[in-house]
Subunit: 214 residues, 2 copies
Amino acid sequence: MSKLRVNAFTLSLDGYGAGPHQTLDSPLGVGGENLHKWMTSTRSFHKMIGRDGGTTDTDDMLTARGFENVGAWILGRNMFGPIRGEWPDDSWKGWWGDNPPYHVPTFVLTHHVRAPITMEGGTVFHFVTDGIHSALEQARAAADGKDVRVGGGVATIRQYLQERLIDEMHLAISPVLLGSGEHLFAGIDMPKLGYRCTETISTADATHVMIGRA
Amino acid sequence: MSKLRVNAFTLSLDGYGAGPHQTLDSPLGVGGENLHKWMTSTRSFHKMIGRDGGTTDTDDMLTARGFENVGAWILGRNMFGPIRGEWPDDSWKGWWGDNPPYHVPTFVLTHHVRAPITMEGGTVFHFVTDGIHSALEQARAAADGKDVRVGGGVATIRQYLQERLIDEMHLAISPVLLGSGEHLFAGIDMPKLGYRCTETISTADATHVMIGRA
């Protein structure tokens, strides 16, 4: 059965999340020097951004696993780009260049209508203006039996969690204090929503936490 | 130099803290079945509550370390007991029986005056009604050069953190989602207060996080 998944979503020790776009756009962003280190050091990540080398350890396995059997993605608008409000024109096509790392239909949540964009490598950005349920329905249809991955950011994951729609979530807790940002769990009662921690795996650079249904 | 320390303070994955009194009083409290497992399984903990056996691993070493070179403790009132408001009488003497695990002067923050209580084994409970700075001053004097340990709970640790008074903090993050409670870091900007993560150590039952001054 097609699952709705979160993979490789990184949190600081104090619970703040940051989407991977921050890594791709500014790998050494404010306070985030070591936040994504567990992932950016892996061979899978290197390959994704067209580099050689990288580690082939547990962190790499978990990074790679996040891309397996994914038929569509859902992204919050802030993860797609820095523009707020109406789209001024069609020039912004994401942080990721001409060939984004998705390679499947990718649904961007927004309040502002925009025509789909076909990128190189199989990624097609679709802009969804009628909410998270519609985005999920469209993504499931596009995924054709494969899973749908929610890329983030925090606000988008929180919305799907609150509707109990996420089936599996892999979080990576990095040994970094951020001090501010969007908190993933604040005000969300995970056990009450039917979730529990099913497994933890620790590596040198992160504690990986698997969350599933109770 | 005498340090103000937090040791072995356990947090859930979603950031909620619970003081060790919950373990001593109700080891299987609401949602907390596995929260303190890393500690309650250790030889040091077993010894503290008068039992034989227990593990002698990293978790045990970290539990034991929390009691080394401690000359005085500071506890929030809720960690001392369930009574709120005025003390109805002198019958409540803590959760820990006649011989509490402190064995040194222990300063309890409260708004309500009460005479000190001398327990077996060296613990003397002093009740401090004029705030956290006064409690620290009295504890430092009593500690006679040794460190002062803040036992908790969350509200007490938060107050000392916000005043930048804590020198070292050892947190244990357990693979448990609690869903509600008091959040240790909410609204506290740790990097801004001058703190950073200095080390993490993972065991089967917890990720131990060491926090110190940047």
